[in-house]
Amino acid sequence: MPIVEAKALVKRYPKPGSKKEHFLAVDGVSLAIEPGEVFGILGPNGAGKTTTLEMIEGLTDIDSGEAFVDGISVIRDPNKVKEIIGVQLQDNEYFDHLTLADLLRLFSRLFRRDDDPKVLLGRVSLEDKAEAKPAALSGGQKQRFSIACALVNEPRVLFLDEPTTGLDPQAKRNLWKLVENLNSAGMTVVLTTHNMEEAEHLCDRIAIMDHGKIIAEGSPQDLIMQHAPEPPEARLHGNLEDVFLKLTGHALRE
């Protein structure tokens, strides 16, 4: 039985500059993610990746369709779902004047737990930053701290929204290692990215999204086999980026 299941999710937003017309940010997305998988949602900017994730997390209302986490309906029981998921948001800030340890203690209490912030920070290699403020962290450290915050409730599923965007190669590799470690300990991970290398490296399965729809789904190898351009169009051998560009086109997105 899938641990995360989305059935024909739809999200409508008003068209910019128009009150009557709507566009479909997410247009009938269905997903079935198995326990222990690292599942990647790929897509260009504006494809609907974040909206899909936020509907499953209960952050955004589901206009039509259904979502379940561990069999619990997000629509009917959003608070029960929040108890068993960990969420890392795209670049959010934190309260001023609180240290990493203060913040982790707060999040921990909000889940009615009393975990030692040092242990959580140790899991993301930030144990020496317990008394630092988030503003003083580097990009990679910020992302690792975000993940530490998402781990306070020992979640069954960890959602990561573009976790490596803007990181340098070292920080990126470091974060991959962290995700691999969490996953090998049994945690299901759902992440969005537009980094092909990341999807190829981390994900067991991938869904490629564009214009609110899933246009391809499968393991990185399957997708390359199915969609990579034939030589001589491809370089020596096809990679996932070729697949991505073939499927979503070469036009620039904002």
Partner: protein
Amino acid sequence: MEMTLTMGRTLLKIFSRDRQAIFFTLFFPITFMVIFGIASTGADDPIEIGIVDNAANQFSARFIETLESRELFDVNVGAEEELRARVVDGDLALALILPERFDGSDTADLTMLVDAAQVRQSAMLTPLVEQALLDVERELRGIEPLFPLSVVDVQARSQRYIDFLVPGLLALTIMQISVAGSGFNIVEYRRKGILKRLFVTPIRSGQFIGGLVLSRLLITVIQVSVLLAVAVVLLDVPVEGNVLELLALIVLGSSIFLSLGFWMGSLAKTQQAIMLLGNLITLPQMFLSGVFFSIEAMPELLQPIAKLLPLSFVVSSVREVILDGTSIAEQIPTLIGLLAWLAIGLTLAIRFFRWKEVAT
């Protein structure tokens, strides 16, 4: 409850580490109080007047002495030319010319030099000068006043402007830190994505609001108490009423403005919008609610509206308790006004503060 307290404690910790916020919320009201306190403790400056003594006899000396004995006047005796020039310069409010025959033997005309441009001031001063002349005349003729007037202060204590001002400033501070505490903070937390981050934890909107309200109420009570202590210790402002009642009023007033702040914070999506909306709602009240001068001193047309503003009810109840020692139980209409505004504020806050919408 446990979550509410966790949230409240955390917000208190944040505030206690925010030295700038603590400084600025106390700095302005204390500065105001001290400046007005110093200004109203010093006696009024005497009015400079000039006298040209052409008689130079015992009666004129007696007259000058009478005027000088009144603390209201500072008398300059000199030559007419010189004093006239000083009146023109605005240095003297007026100059009196005593005639040579100023001895009570016959009617003698006095001339008063004034600057006609200062009509109001001369109109106020003339009766005072006439009164001094009358006193001298009575003395010369050896008669007692037929209708002696004795003045009794019914307040039974003198009220300085600072005494009037302090309760107003306390109420103003309650409004400002409460609106900032809920409205401005919510917009800031949303901008930073903090509300969104909290929304993906099991905390409910009621628990978050409860924690914020508890922490802000405590902060308001502490800050207003510090201001009141400064007023009592440094400026000798009397507190006639019950301190517990005063605390209850601070909490009630703060609750009104916190809930109005929640409403504003839910409407405004950006920092600029909340600044505008906050000013739109607090600035008129600052001037119309009797903080710096009594509502009765305003144009008749504005008074009925001004009296219905939420800050007016807070100002008047706090002022009554501090200055007159009137219990809240004796201020039924004001109390009804306060409770009505609390109901309006809560309704607006609940109607507009939707956790999911405000957070995302």
